[in-house]
């Protein structure tokens, strides 16, 4: 491992749990503990705990906060947020390319938190500051924040034992503040797995205690720690985009089928003109799900063909542990992107059949 890799405050715990560690976006992170398939299936059938402290938290405060956020994001924070609500949204550049996909938390009308991808913390912070002409206070709180996710059908049962906060009334994409195991925590009803679950934010110094309290309560009924490997398989089954794979500065929210995150009614936001132009002219390609028709596995960057014509590339691909099929995402030309369209994926120089399928690949019950 390189000397310069960053570690979350929970690193010693991961080592103790026997995690295998990998480099991810400059971080030394657990990729797996008991095995990707085992962890994946445990989250689907029971629950799992994740260390996501590598993600970034950027706080934006003051009277200028909302106007700045409105300018930065494609979604509408004024119309769609109230205190305690959370919003998923791309943040675009002038050409409609995605700078990052972020989650916006509203604490008060003049205090927000943006949760951003680990690989983009610096880029996002600079981008936000560069567009701050409303005098908002911008603070990167990533280093002082731990983020622990508890995901799976038994997550509410476990968390209920550790907090007095009423969890049954906490709806999807809402958050509240309180104590978990005596530690001041932001409890967010969100996740990246498709299962019921929570994401918990606390001060770095409390990270170990918070993890241990949840871990003990969870492990007692079969919950397991989950690494980035299963995080990827879980999110792909739901067709949740991974920044850097499925979306980046060269793809637009329309192409990525994130139409629902664009507020065309909003008077102005960065990239609006480009996105409206693209909507008017019609998109040329879109991000679709496919399934391999043999046992080969498609991986990112593999070329996609139809009848010897090169039509696109795979952005994500792996064996789906829940479906026991090999699945993936690719940008395909609109006319070749309909469900059931037969395509070929080039794998190690040979082409293997696949078909476009409906997404999400997996439907949690």
């Amino acid at each position: 491992m390189q000397e310069s890799l960053k570690r979350t405050p929970l690193y010693p715990i991961h080592k103790q749990l026997g995690a295998r560690l990998i480099e991810f976006g400059g971080w030394e992170m657990p990729v797996q503990y008991s095995g990707i398939i085992d962890e994946h299936l445990t989250v689907r059938s029971n629950m799992g705990i994740f260390d996501l402290s590598h993600l970034g938290e950027i706080e934006i405060r003051g009277d200028g906060a909302l106007p700045l956020i409105q300018k930065l994001i494609t979604n509408d924070a004024e119309r769609n947020l109230v205190d305690g609500r959370i919003l998923y949204t791309p943040m675009c550049n002038e050409t409609g390319g995605i700078v990052d996909d972020v989650v916006v938390y509203r604490f008060r009308s003049d205090r927000y938190m943006l949760v951003v991808n680990a690989t983009n913390i610096g880029v996002d912070f600079d981008w936000i500051c560069a567009h701050n002409d409303t005098g908002a206070e911008i603070e990167n709180r990533s280093d002082e924040t731990v983020l622990i996710a508890l995901q799976g059908r038994n997550a509410p049962k476990v968390l209920r034992k550790l907090t007095n906060i009423e969890l049954t009334t906490l709806k999807y994409f809402w958050f509240t503040e309180g104590e978990v195991a005596g530690i001041p925590t932001i409890i967010s009803r969100t996740g990246y797995t498709g299962e019921v679950g929570f994401e918990l934010y606390a001060k770095t110094g409390c990270g170990g205690d918070l993890w241990n309290a949840i871990y003990e309560a969870m492990a007692r009924i079969g919950g397991k720690p989950v690494g980035l490997g299963a995080r990827d398989t879980l999110r792909l089954e739901m067709k949740y985009c991974l920044y850097g794979n499925d979306i980046d500065e060269t793809t637009t929210p329309l192409e990525a089928e994130l139409d629902w995150t664009i507020s065309f009614d909003k008077r102005d936001f960065i990239g609006r003109d480009a996105i409206i132009k693209q909507r008017t002219e019609g998109i040329k390609r879109r991000l679709v799900g496919f399934q391999m028709l043999n046992r080969s596995v498609a991986r990112p960057h593999y070329p996609v063909y139809q009848k010897n014509q090169h039509i696109g590339a795979v952005t994500s691909g792996l064996p789906s542990p829940s479906l026991k099929r090999n699945i993936g995402l690719a940008y395909l030309p609109i006319e070749q992107s309909k469900i059931y369209t037969k395509i070929d994926i080039e794998i190690r120089g040979k082409r293997y059949p696949a078909k476009v399928v409906r997404t999400p690949f997996y439907q949690p019950d």
Binding site: R20, V31, Q32, G35, I36, I37, G229, T233, R295, S296, V297, R299, L318, P319, P321, N326, R348
Partner: protein
């Protein structure tokens, strides 16, 4: 498992983590314990047909795990006389028994001198130690 058991003494190794076991003019090929541990959860193995000719400069197949694809390189040149068909339905044998039931192919060697190019168990252990650091 001790380091000795992880890399059996009667095998030769390629830097790309395949092992070779010589039985007269036949060589059996598999992947090392280190490789299976790196890959984890093997879900699919792509192997050539019996009768195909393989050579050390060319990949002869691949192992797919949930995490990644692992390209396979042969330790020696020759004709494939058998492939492990059990792996079709039970690819996890590679994780469970990398040196026995998880073998990949059997090759009739053309040039036994090629075995001299391979690593001894000690040399291979040193290589793994380097990769782990």
């Amino acid at each position: 498992m001790s380091e000795e058991q992880k890399y059996p003494e009667d095998l030769k190794y390629r830097e790309t983590h395949e092992w070779a076991r010589r039985e007269s003019d036949i060589v059996i090929v598999g992947i090392s314990d280190y490789a299976q541990e790196e890959l984890q959860d093997v879900v699919y193995v792509e192997l050539p047909e019996v009768g195909a000719v393989v050579e050390p400069e060319k990949e002869f197949g691949a192992i797919e795990s949930v995490k990644a694809a692992f390209n396979l390189w042969t330790p020696v040149s020759g004709e494939i006389i058998e492939v492990n068909e059990e792996l079709e339905d039970a690819p996890e044998l590679i994780n469970e028994y990398p040196y026995s039931l998880g073998w990949l192919i059997k090759i009739r060697m053309i040039n036994p001198d090629e075995l001299e190019n391979l690593l001894s168990p000690n040399e291979y252990r040193a290589l793994i130690k380097g990769e782990r650091e």
